[in-house]
């Protein structure tokens, strides 16, 4: 069911002083797949997401998105091109309302650089924003200040903001961190619905192996900044190397 290559890295690396946080990672995401990125703490998962989204510049290798070499693109340009992400530590605008936060992305996705037009004149933006809030189940809280809603809701808000960009690829850095089991599974269900509806490609960093097994079609395992294994969830779970470093097998 997965389509053509949409996001691809070749020999991607990032060095912080003497530390090789990400080393020669070659990753290929196909259009429409859900890929989980797992690995022990310090494996380089967040650094890899930062490299893909452009928050951290690469020190080696290249990143290709929809056929274009985006390695040198700043983060904002990648976001505009359809590469959206959420942060591990929630990044929202606390004094703006929940709806305004989503507006920010939605008005950008309509392509027109925002100027002095009154907000109400951009009806498409409003519809799109409310729709994205509905998808993550936050429609009822639209007018509350984003800083006042709960932590779990803020994570959902981040996902809504990412969706409002109409992305082709969604990078999710531990979206379920700090959430209850029930909330986590709700997100998983929603993510799959969104993917099926919008034909989105999802790369998700996730610690909960149950969620990984259920949600992901393929799994990439990082260890010490390098790709240790890649395959279907079952293949990865059976992999001896993976069991040794990550799954606690012996």
């Amino acid at each position: 069911m997965a389509g053509e290559l949409i996001l691809e890295t070749r020999g991607l690396g990032r060095r912080f002083g003497g530390l090789l946080a990400v080393n020669a990672v070659s990753l290929a995401l196909r259009d429409g797949e859900i890929r989980a990125l797992i690995g022990p703490n310090g494996a380089g998962k967040t650094t890899l997401i930062n490299l893909l989204s452009g928050l951290t510049p690469a020190s080696a290798g290249e990143i290709r998105f929809r056929g274009a070499d985006v390695t040198a693109w700043p983060a904002a340009r990648r976001a505009r091109a359809g590469l959206a992400r959420t942060m591990q530590v929630t990044a929202i605008c606390p004094t703006l309302t929940v709806l305004e936060n989503v507006w920010l992305s939605a008005q950008r996705s309509l392509g027109r650089p925002p100027a002095l037009a009154s907000r109400t004149s951009l009806r498409g933006v409003d519809e799109r924003s409310r729709e994205c809030l509905a998808v993550v189940g936050l429609a009822a809280r639209a007018d509350e200040p984003a800083g006042s809603i709960g932590h779990g809701d803020q994570r959902l808000l981040e996902i809504a903001m990412a969706l409002a960009l109409r992305p082709r690829v969604l990078l999710l850095d531990e979206p379920t961190a700090g959430m209850s089991v029930k909330e986590s599974w709700e997100i998983v269900t929603r993510l799959r619905e969104i993917r099926d509806r919008d034909r989105l490609t999802v790369l998700i960093v996730e610690h909960d192996m149950e969620i990984v097994m259920e949600l992901a079609e393929r799994v990439t395992v990082l260890h010490l900044g390098e790709t240790l294994a890649e395959g279907t969830p079952d293949e990865v779970a059976r992999n001896a190397d993976v069991q040794r470093v990550y799954l606690g097998g012996r």
Binding site: A75, A76, C93, P94, P114
Partner: protein, 304 residues
Amino acid sequence: MTAGVVLLALVLLPAALSRFGRFFAAEIFTWALYAMGFNICFGMTGMLSFGHAAFFASGAYGATFAVLYLVRDPWVALAAAVVAATALATLVGFFAVRVVSHSFVIITITFSLVLLLLAHSQKDVTGGDDGLLFPPLALVAGAGPSLATPLVSYYVALAVLVAAYALLRRLSCSPLGLVFQAVRDSERRATLAGYDVQRYRWLAFVLSGSVAGLAGGVYAITHAQVNAQLFDVTVSVDAVIWTLIGGAGSVLGPAVGAALVLAFTHAVSGWIVYTQIPVGILLILIVIFWPRGLSGVWRSWPAS
């Protein structure tokens, strides 16, 4: 509705004011405009500038040079004020928006100090502390009532203030205003939503400087004189104080702060020499007890 009543009151107010009262009100409108312009940078976009005197002063000088060397028309002078301040803010902003927080404060202070020294050293051009004088202007290109009349000054300053207020209100609830506020709240979020943060910080800085320069232009045409002291750091600090007192979270807050502090200073100046002391105490109390300023207090009152 409320806005209409306030506007009507302001239009009718001169009838109840003395000559000095009218002049003083025009003065308040001028500084209120300056404070509102400053707040695009500070309250809306989250950049604390300590150098806005430079934009006010360059606007004032731009207007004066237009009058002295170009044409004796107050509206051309105002346009020149905006052009001069915008040009300066574009230059200063180019460097300043590359850094944040303390560094931003320092770079804006430094620029304004350099300009202050430059203004004093180039006495031939700026007139230094003595400044430059020109005969009062007529309202429209040499015709109509003189701007030396406090009543005319009053209405000119009020008209510019109201026009700028309408524009800033529009900005604050526009898509562009939303981006400015997002940059203030979370640079990271604004970036991830696809905005080049530095570019928007620059734009906010330039808009802010333009409005401050417009206020400088109003100052020049209503006083028919400017001097190098307008570049002084105290002028920059005033904008910060007025905005903190009035409230940085709304368009009108800084204007209210400017009006209150100026009126208060005037009222006590008869029996207190160092009026900065009570203003300073007021500022400390407000920062502690009403961190959102006086307009924040208003807005937190239940509407129903």
